[in-house]
């Protein structure tokens, strides 16, 4: 006996990427049963109960027949309650309770409540992007997420409240009017460099870091303002492009951290030092983006760097090198984007007062442990080291030295110069310069070359450290609008250099 078959399109979220999923429902006579196949997780299995209640509570009938639902492709693991609505619509279509609009391909995405309402579901932006790629004309999502989904152009978005509206939209009815723009809360007091008093050297270092995309280490005793400074770095980075903003929004949406609309400010993430490596770079089951991905196109701030779990820090190497992290689960590999700037803060020693005469109480062994925890491959990826001291009284009372708008303009100009110089190299800022590009794309004048040579011969720089100094010097020259790196630029870069293993203090 022939059964009745219906198909509805939806999407699974794989990492942060949408994958098209076709929900197929077959209804034939037999003992009443409802089976879902297609590698779903517990949430998918439980959706049977939600769907049954939602269908009945919305005034439809739940067919007393043998119902088989398949989430195709069957090889892809599917997690979460986002398939609820698609399953419900497929059941209704297969039981002839509604007719999908044959003229336009439709996709739906969302979780159902027992009462038949569509619940807020994370990851809608990713689904909308998938819909556009798949050529879907109309996407039905929970109303709370309609604005987010409509960030993607060329897809008509229906924000619906309940199953009945979803059915109407899928049948080709007029769309409910788009939700009114939420009355925006007054813009939260944003941070600005103008809040900073004193800290002349750290402010300079922040601008250099922002201009060249260099990772930065802030070192200083407790309570001197390291966190306060780091928090202001996003405010001087160039604004996100629309494509970048969409990518950031998609990641935050998948992680369920994002309320509404487009994220237009660069993210700033400051995980606690107790974080695991899965929390930092992503992982878990199903794999979720970690802090490194949530900081994509923004700033990842690691306060108390020496307190972080060594494994977690080691895990940051790949994301720092490649701008993405690959998480392998069973047969498949998920890729999360991680192009963030790293800002780390640390005390110079466990008590924080090394170098302040007679105030450091650390034993030798403590100092060594502290150094060992800091040293390593992570520090190799940090171009800049700046010491943050206590501002003096006069500075605290004085006017701010600069503000974010001013700094942002300088940074944007410097980045513009880099883009022109690095055209067709694949690099976008000076921090991306590898050994070869340092050789071919950075012009040093005679004074700079001489100073670099002296520092290298004197043992103050390793080969790797040499590249770091040249990269930073290039950025300093870019900030000043100079075509060639001068001696002053190079010396300034040297004084902000991050030391690595094998480099002696000069003239020791």
């Amino acid at each position: 006996m022939a059964g009745v078959l219906a198909r509805i399109a939806t999407f699974a979220i794989d990492g942060v990427d949408p994958r098209p999923v076709s929900v197929e429902v077959d209804i034939r006579s037999g003992l009443p049963a409802f089976t879902i196949v297609g590698l779903g997780d517990a949430a998918v299995r439980e959706s049977r109960e939600r769907i049954r209640a939602a269908i009945l509570n919305s005034g439809y009938e739940f067919p007393q027949k043998r119902i088989t639902a398949n989430l195709a492709p069957a090889s892809l693991r599917k997690a979460g309650p986002g398939f609820d609505v698609a399953l419900a619509l497929a059941v209704l279509a297969a039981s002839r309770q509604f007719e999908p609009d044959p003229s336009a391909p439709v996709a739906v995405y969302g979780e159902l409540s027992l009462g038949g309402e569509l619940r807020d579901s994370p990851g809608v932006l990713a689904v909308a992007e998938g819909a556009r790629r798949a050529g879907i004309a109309r996407l039905i999502v929970p109303r709370a997420r309609a604005r987010e989904a409509s960030l993607v152009d060329r897809v008509e978005v229906a924000g619906v409240r309940g199953l009945r509206e979803a059915v109407a939209a899928a049948a080709g009815a007029e769309l409910p009017p788009p939700p009114p723009a939420p009355s925006r809360p007054p813009p939260a007091a944003t941070v600005d460099l103008a809040d900073v008093r004193g800290h002349q050297i750290p402010l300079l270092a922040l601008q250099i870091a922002a201009a060249g995309g260099h990772n930065l280490l802030l070192e200083g005793p407790p309570g001197t303002g390291k966190t306060m400074l780091a928090r202001r770095l996003p405010s001087i980075l160039p604004p996100l492009t629309r494509a970048q903003a969409l990518e950031v929004t998609r990641i935050h949406s998948v992680a369920g951290l994002h309320a509404d609309g487009l994220i237009e400010t660069r993210p700033f993430r400051a995980p606690h030092h107790s974080i695991s490596s899965a929390g930092l770079v992503g992982g878990g089951s199903p794999p979720r983006p970690g802090e490194a991905s949530l900081a994509h196109f923004g700033v990842l701030f690691l306060d108390e760097l020496s307190e972080f779990n060594r494994l977690a820090l080691e895990a940051l190497r790949q994301p720092l090198e490649d701008g993405r992290v690959t998480i392998v689960r069973g047969q498949r590999a998920l890729v999360f984007p991680t192009r963030f700037m790293l800002v780390a803060a640390t005390n110079p020693c466990p008590c924080g007062f090394a170098g302040v005469e007679d105030r450091c109480t650390c034993a030798d062994a403590d100092l060594r442990r502290h150094q060992r925890r800091l040293s390593g491959p992570l520090l190799d990826r940090i171009d800049l080291l700046v010491n943050v001291g206590r501002p003096v009284e006069a500075e605290l009372r004085g006017p701010p030295l600069t503000d974010s708008r001013h700094a942002r303009e300088r940074v944007a100009d410097a980045r513009e110069r880099q883009l022109v110089r690095l055209e067709e190299t694949g690099a976008t800022c000076n921090a991306d310069l590898d050994a070869r590009l340092v050789q071919t794309r950075v012009a040093l004048d005679d004074g700079a070359r001489d100073a670099l040579g002296r520092a290298y011969t004197g043992g103050a720089l390793s080969a790797r450290g040499r590249h770091r100094v040249v990269r930073v010097a290039r950025t300093i020259a870019d900030l000043e609008g100079r075509e060639r790196v001068t001696e002053v630029d190079l010396l300034l870069a040297l004084s902000l250099r991050q030391r690595s293993a094998g480099e002696e203090a000069l003239a020791a």
């Binding site: 050297i201 100073a451 010396l491 000069l506 003239a507």
Partner: protein, 369 residues
Amino acid sequence: MSRRARGVDRPQACSRCLARTWLIARLAGHLEVERERVLSLLALDDDQLVLAVAGGKRNEIERQRREFSTAAAQATAIRAGVELVCGCSSTYPAALRDLAAPPAVLHVLGGIDRLRACVEAGAAAIVGTRTPSRYGGEMASALGRGVAGAGVTVVSGMAHGIDAAAHAGALGAQGGRTVAVLPGGVDRPYPQTLARLHARIAGAGVVLGELPPGTSVRRWMFQARNRVIAALSELTIVVEARQSSGALMTARHAAELGRTLGAVPGQVTSAPAAGPHELIAGGAALIRGAGDVLDLLFGAGVREPPDDRRPALTDAQAALLSALEQSGEVAGALTRSGLGVDRGLAELAALELSGWLRRGPGGRYSVIP
């Protein structure tokens, strides 16, 4: 000359002296208990020493003494790459014979020939606290460099702080000679964290000790070591030492042996300057730099420390240096010197490159004298 060829006529320690050394190492734990009077105990002969400290272990130790094998002791030294010279040899440094209880055997890393050259060049000890101020560390390093650069051997104890800075300074000088006298076995860097310095000294200078290879350090050994430093050097200079510092012990040994004493002045209010100031008040020579050391050793103006090859300072750099001398804190110094941030930071790096400044922990700079 190959190593093997030299081995034929390499001075070997005699059985008696080796047995003596073995005995002291065997009694190390017993001596630790008696460390208040360890130097007078070391002056006893072998039998009396066992009687004095062995207690209930006496019979066991006597038996082990009878079983002692010279060949085994020699073999241990060869395995550790250590050369030996005993008190019965003509190559033994004569200055050590001034001691009431000279070391029976010297264990040498770096070669007997080099030790002889170091002793013949004339030696000055530079000692002090393990936790110096930035100023103290820089003075020790500059003295080491200047003195060694003028051909004088720098002797010290390879402890953290002043000792290590003096050795490092001496190694940095052209052809600089330095001798590190270790408390325990010379093959074991003590402190372990200075293993790299230990290797550099063994490579270009001499590491010396009176106990057999492999001996681990006990507290009484520091006193014993200090007397060797004092005896080996014509002049002992204390750079920084708090009131109870072991460096003052070295100074006392030097005074008892009739050696010259020198001390580097500091600020009266600074705790680690208290030791040197007390010595100066008691008649020690005032040491302001390597020139003073050379004048004391050879007479005024006979030898000069090597020229300062560092480039002359610009006015701006001089202002920055003097601001940094008040406090190593950069931000304040830039303000005081009147330089802008960009320019000031660049000058800092320039000064560092030309050897006027050293960047220390916490981003603080110290001025190299």
